[in-house]
């Protein structure tokens, strides 16, 4: 048990290190990212919380916080359908989704599911960029 826990911790740390390295340019993150992280921590008590600002891949100004991908790993999701899990995340971030955040890709997993494939996926390319699209989700 101790060994398993240690292994899990190492995997989690390794994953987090990779994500952190990937976003070295904005190591601190902005206020929206900080708010998302804090609200999800409070609402879902996740064992793992991986958050990536993907705004750089879209036609928005540099340093924007409009497109995010999040992996939330929580025992709270046991027995819940994917729809129910995503709604929990939406509820926790209702302010951000009604305001600055246009897109939020969600991976909502139980700890067992996360251990099967502990990685934050990559979102598809934007395809957008028209002024008509910019500014609203």
């Amino acid at each position: 048990m101790l060994s398993a826990r240690l292994a899990r911790c190492m995997v989690s740390m390794a994953t987090r290190a990779c994500v952190s390295r990937g976003s070295a340019g904005s190591a601190a993150g902005g206020p929206v990212e900080a708010a998302i992280r804090a609200k999800l921590e409070q609402a879902l008590s996740p064992e793992v919380l991986e958050l990536r600002n993907e705004s750089g891949g879209h036609a928005v100004p540099a340093g924007s916080e409009t497109h995010f991908r999040v992996a939330v790993v929580s025992s709270r999701f046991e027995g819940m359908s994917p729809l129910q899990r995503h709604r929990l995340v939406h509820e926790a971030l209702s302010e951000e989704l009604a305001g600055p955040v246009h897109a939020l890709a969600i991976q909502a997993k139980t700890p067992a599911q996360w251990r099967e494939n502990p990685q934050l996926d990559i979102s598809p390319p934007c395809l957008g960029g028209s002024k008509k699209t910019r500014g609203t989700s």
Partner: protein, 214 residues
């Protein structure tokens, strides 16, 4: 491949075996929101929902749209839902119930309904494109696709209807299924093949599986 000239907006679903019974229960219920009951100032769209933040720009643009545009939008919804939904041509819905009813009819009109940013041929969003590609993989072609970028009222209305804050959105047999992430998950774990089977749609991937097993 889609036939040239075929309108994706009002795709005809495959009604094998006649009309299926309408589901009596929905996981999603329309969420009530404040609605002006009397006509507002000139040019004001009663259907617009007040919202702060960045979206206020879009709402402001929407509110400045002409009345005829609003009427056309309602007619467009009504047309998709079939005759008789709107009591009188050109009359704006006076209550949120009216809007929810129209959207309810819209999502039930076809077996597979998607709300996208852009069209299946020209998606304007990576996640909308992913939904289109998944349906293509399964050989689903006769589905209704609505471009919310053409209609700000639909764009906000469908979010309120499903209580889901983002686009794209997918409906199967009139029931809200989720967005891109959930559809992708269903594709990966085999649930989508099963759900399509329930609708009388045979996924193209079944044949691929058979070939793989040989």
């Amino acid at each position: 491949m889609r036939l040239p000239g075929k309108a994706h907006r009002y795709g005809v679903s495959d009604m094998i075996g006649g009309i299926e019974p309408v589901l009596s229960n929905h996981e999603t219920h329309p969420r009530a929101y404040p609605m002006r009951t009397s006509s507002g100032p000139a040019g004001h769209q009663g259907l617009c929902k007040p919202s702060g933040g960045r979206r206020s720009g879009d709402q402001r643009a929407g509110m400045s749209a002409s009345l005829s545009r609003a009427a056309a939008a309602l007619l467009r919804w009504g047309r998709g839902a079939g005759g008789g939904v709107l009591p009188r041509a050109g009359v704006r819905a006076a209550s949120s119930g009216g809007q929810a009813e129209q959207l309810d009819a819209l999502v039930k009109k076809d077996k597979v309904v998607v709300f996208l940013k852009g069209t299946p041929e020209q998606p304007q969003c990576g996640f909308s494109n992913a939904v289109v590609q998944i349906l293509r993989l399964h050989g689903v072609r006769d589905y209704a696709a609505y471009n919310v970028l053409e209609d700000p009222e639909l764009r906000q209305g469908i979010k309120d209807y499903s209580n889901w804050p983002t686009i794209p959105q997918v409906y199967l047999n009139g029931e809200f299924v989720g967005g891109c992430d959930i559809l992708l998950q269903m594709h990966q774990n085999g649930d989508l093949v099963e759900e399509l089977k329930k609708l009388g749609i045979r996924s193209a991937l079944i044949d691929e599986k058979d070939q793989d097993s040989k």
